[in-house]
Amino acid sequence: MHPFMPFVTEELWQRLPRRANDTNPTIVKARYPQFVAEFDNSAAERDYDLVFSAIKTVRSLASEYNIKDKMEVFIHAKDSETYETFAGQTDSIKALVKGAEKISTVKEGSQVPDGCAAGVLGEQAVVYLLVKGRVNVDEEVAKTQKKAAKVAEARKRLEASRAKKDYQTKVKPEVQAQDEKKLKEYLEEEKTLEDLVKKFEGLRA
């Protein structure tokens, strides 16, 4: 940042402790950051990006259901690698979600209790926030059904475009692969939402 903002960076740099044996008196002569091969870690990037998207999902669910405290979160990891990633990050998730009290990572969907709102993280995981007893069931069912209908509509549109006769020949293979992945995700999400509706219905009993 120093080349772009010379004054404030010097001021702050002067307040920070120096590395051992660093006698350089000014940021003006400090070494500019470079690409460091050792730091290049796309696995860490991917994993923490996933964790962070879980955090964002919980935040948005919490605001959607207007829940501000004592949150109980379940993360359904669909493969063991994802499970490991989340299991090690529950503290960090807790830190980044205001009002989160308990974060559980589970391997099976059946381990998630009834009465949760959900957000899907691709094919790898589903994030649940327990809303039972804190929301109006009728409203939530209607809301979820509306969401499911929207996803179904998007899916049908995609199916229709894939069904066109020159789709196989004219659309680039990478796009076709993307479409296929998207379709799978839509189906997955629809199923999750349908399940969610059932779960809300279960709350009535």
Partner: protein
């Protein structure tokens, strides 16, 4: 090495300087942090015309005196005093903007060694015949009383009749017309009809030209037309240049006041009658009725008198373009004057060859294209200026014994000697005119400011001496400036650099955009959209902005327009943004486009970003133990958590993008990368992950 484009000593810095400084300083700081030895050389330009006219105005305001009342030496002393005052002021402003210049190498175009470079260049180019004296039509500004180069003019396109304000006239003057009138043929009842867009120039007519094949006029060629107001007979000549089908097919010829007529005058050996004084009034050659009359008053009077004599025919609308002086907005008058010229064809050819060969990379591509277009069509450069402030030409006019002179050079272009000093001029003159008793009179004119600016990349390093700085820093690395001075400055530095040092003056040219207001208009005092960079740094109120308007010399109508804009753009004044926010914003605005529409709110946003950095650093310091000393190396320990691995990965990636983008001079992407890293990765994620659950 980056040479800072030297700001004029004439006035305050504007937002364009802030942009220039931000880009150059970013490159310099970045390269310095990458371990290179850098030189960021600051300096100032004496700005001949601008500075002299400001001081003249002040002298008139304060003491009701002109420069002639003081005399040359006293007046230039006064300009030096004024220069010292403003120089100090501007230097302090520059320092506040955060540029990491090496002030020990500061240069001024009129420093002793830089003046020596000008002298050396003039003598060398004159000896080689590249600088020559010629009596030609020049662009004369009656208001500033000096010659101007083609680059110092504006063009206004007229679609037809239009009244324009001209300095020195209370009433507006009519342009965009073509007036037809008749000349009587001597010794016959015939008349010949001609047309002109500048009726007053008929007082300088010395011939009528027709096409040699034009049957209508064949019998008149060789006869004479009579001037109605002056005792003058004008030959009717035949010339291919005349278009038979245009107008009446007969053209009035004013060799001393029109570029085309000048050429015809030379071809037919016509009389060149200068009808104008330097101040735009007519001289004794126009006869008693017009002598002393102002040129545009004469435009009306000529038509009236033609009517009286029954010679006037008609006036029609005429689409045309007129040339104005960029500085004074006066209408340029073509006048015949002996001046110093630089022959530029070969210089331009060499410059193009070097750039084509890849010795200089010009970015962006639009600027490179303009560079070639301009050089391919280059014309010779008139470098004489009738001013006192600047580098006086080292040229001496030779008078032989018995010749009268009033200490001014004459018109004979072969009588000149050019030398470093008067003594060596004496020797050169004796050699040139052996056996003659001689007196030398030095050319009182100074040289175009851009002549000295054109030497900037090497004159600042000590050239013509071969100094250590020349060895270490020449050619310079990057020449960075606004695209608007590509021709004024960049092209001339390349031409003169190659000619004088044999090498390109720099390896790269980067032309940045021009800063415009939030509505995309050019910044101008009369629009009220000029922003002082210091107001962005320290903040100001709407009232103070308005006060500044009133302190300037705008006309009341302009003040109103300006006030209106200020009210909409800065209803709450300008917030205090600080130098860093401005520095960053200017880089972020540099997208490679032509223009930047600057919005003060964007700059203010980066001030908030500074707070964010401050808070993040404060948080980090709070986390460290009092006696915490970071490890000697930043290498991984293997104990890093996922979020730590993640942030290190992001840091390395951001550093990679920033370095690469700065290499490519892509300031938008470079600033985006650091900004995104700090805000969305370091602050929003990494630091937040430390907050207690």
């Amino acid at each position: 090495m980056i040479p800072a484009p030297p700001p004029n000593v004439t006035g305050a810095l504007h937002i364009g300087h802030a942009l220039t400084i931000a880009i150059q300083d970013t490159l310099i700081r970045w390269e310095r942090m990458r371990g290179k030895t850098v030189l960021f050389l600051p300096g100032f330009d004496h700005a001949g015309i601008s500075t002299q006219s400001v001081v003249e105005k002040q002298l008139w305001k304060a003491e009701k005196k002109t420069r002639h009342d003081l005399g040359r030496s006293k007046f230039t002393d006064l300009v030096w005093e004024w220069k010292e005052e403003y120089h100090t002021k501007i230097k302090n402003q520059l320092k506040r903007m955060g540029a990491s210049y090496d002030w020990t190498k500061e240069a001024f175009t009129m420093d002793e060694n830089l003046s020596e470079a000008v002298l050396e260049t003039f003598v060398r180019l004159h000896d080689e015949g590249i600088i020559y004296r010629d009596n030609r039509l020049v662009n004369w500004c009656c208001q500033l009383n000096t010659t101007l180069s083609n680059l110092e003019l504006d063009t206004e396109e007229l679609t037809g009749r239009k009244f324009l304000s001209v300095p020195g006239y209370d009433e507006k003057v009519e342009f965009g017309i073509i007036v037809s009138f008749a000349y009587e043929i001597e010794g016959s009842d015939e008349k010949i009809v001609v047309a002109t867009t500048r009726p007053e120039t008929m007082l300088g007519d010395t011939a009528i030209a027709v096409h040699p094949d034009d049957e209508r006029y064949k019998h008149l060629v060789g006869k004479f037309a009579k001037h109605p107001f002056i005792d003058r007979l004008m030959p009717i000549v035949a010339d291919d240049y005349v278009e038979k089908d245009f107008g009446t097919g007969a053209v009035k010829i004013t060799p001393a006041h029109d570029a085309n007529d000048f050429a015809i005058g030379k071809r037919h050996n016509l009389e060149f009658i200068n009808i104008m004084n330097d101040d735009g009034t007519f001289n004794e050659n126009t006869g008693p009725e017009f002598n002393g009359m102002k040129r545009f008053t004469a435009r009306k009077v000529v038509i009236e008198k033609l009517k009286e004599r029954g010679l006037y025919i008609e006036t029609k609308d005429n689409a045309m373009s007129i040339k104005l002086c960029t500085k004074s907005k006066d209408i340029i008058e073509p006048l015949l004057k002996p001046q110093w010229w630089v022959s530029q064809k070969q210089l331009a050819q060499d410059a193009m060859d070097f750039v084509r060969r890849g010795d200089i990379k010009i970015r962006p591509a639009t600027s490179e294209k303009e560079f070639f277009t301009w050089l391919e069509n280059i014309q010779d450069w008139c470098i004489s200026r009738q001013l006192w402030w600047g580098h006086q030409a080292p040229a001496y006019y030779v008078y032989f014994e018995g010749e009268e002179h009033n200490n001014l050079p004459g018109d004979d272009t072969t009588r000149w000697v050019v030398a470093h000093s008067e003594e060596s001029a004496q020797e050169k003159a004796k050699a040139k005119f052996p056996g003659q008793k001689l007196t030398l009179v030095r050319d009182p004119d100074v040289l175009d400011t851009w002549f000295s600016s054109g030497l900037w990349p090497f004159s600042t390093l000590g050239w013509p001496k071969q100094t250590p700085d020349m060895t270490n820093f020449y050619p310079n690395s990057v020449l960075e400036t606004g695209w608007d001075i590509l021709f004024f400055w960049v092209a001339r530095m390349i031409m003169l650099g190659i000619k004088l040092t044999g090498s390109v003056p720099f390896k790269e040219v980067f032309c940045h955009s021009l800063v415009r207001d939030s509505e995309g208009r050019k910044m101008s005092k009369s629009l009220g959209n000029v922003i002082d960079p210091l107001d962005i740094i320290s903040g100001t109120t709407l009232q103070k902005l308005t006060d500044k308007l009133l302190a300037g010399n705008l006309d009341p109508k302009e003040v109103e327009t300006a006030k209106k804009y200020q009210k909409t753009a800065f209803p709450d004044g300008i917030p205090q943004c600080g130098a860093d926010a401005m520095h960053f914003a200017m880089c972020h605005y540099t997208t490679g486009g032509r223009d930047i529409n600057m919005d003060i709110k964007v700059v203010d946003g980066y001030r908030k970003f500074c707070n964010k950095m401050y808070n993040a650093t404060k948080f980090a310091i709070g986390k460290f133990d009092q006696d915490f000393i970071p490890r000697e190396s930043g290498a991984l320990t293997g104990k890093e958590s996922l979020v730590e691995k993640w942030i290190l990965h992001k840091l390395s990636k951001a550093a990679h993008i920033t370095n690469q983008s700065l290499e490519e001079r892509n300031f938008l992407v470079a600033t985006d990368a650091v900004y995104q890293y700090w805000l969305y990765e370091l602050c929003d994620v990494y630091i937040v992950s430390f907050f207690p659950p």
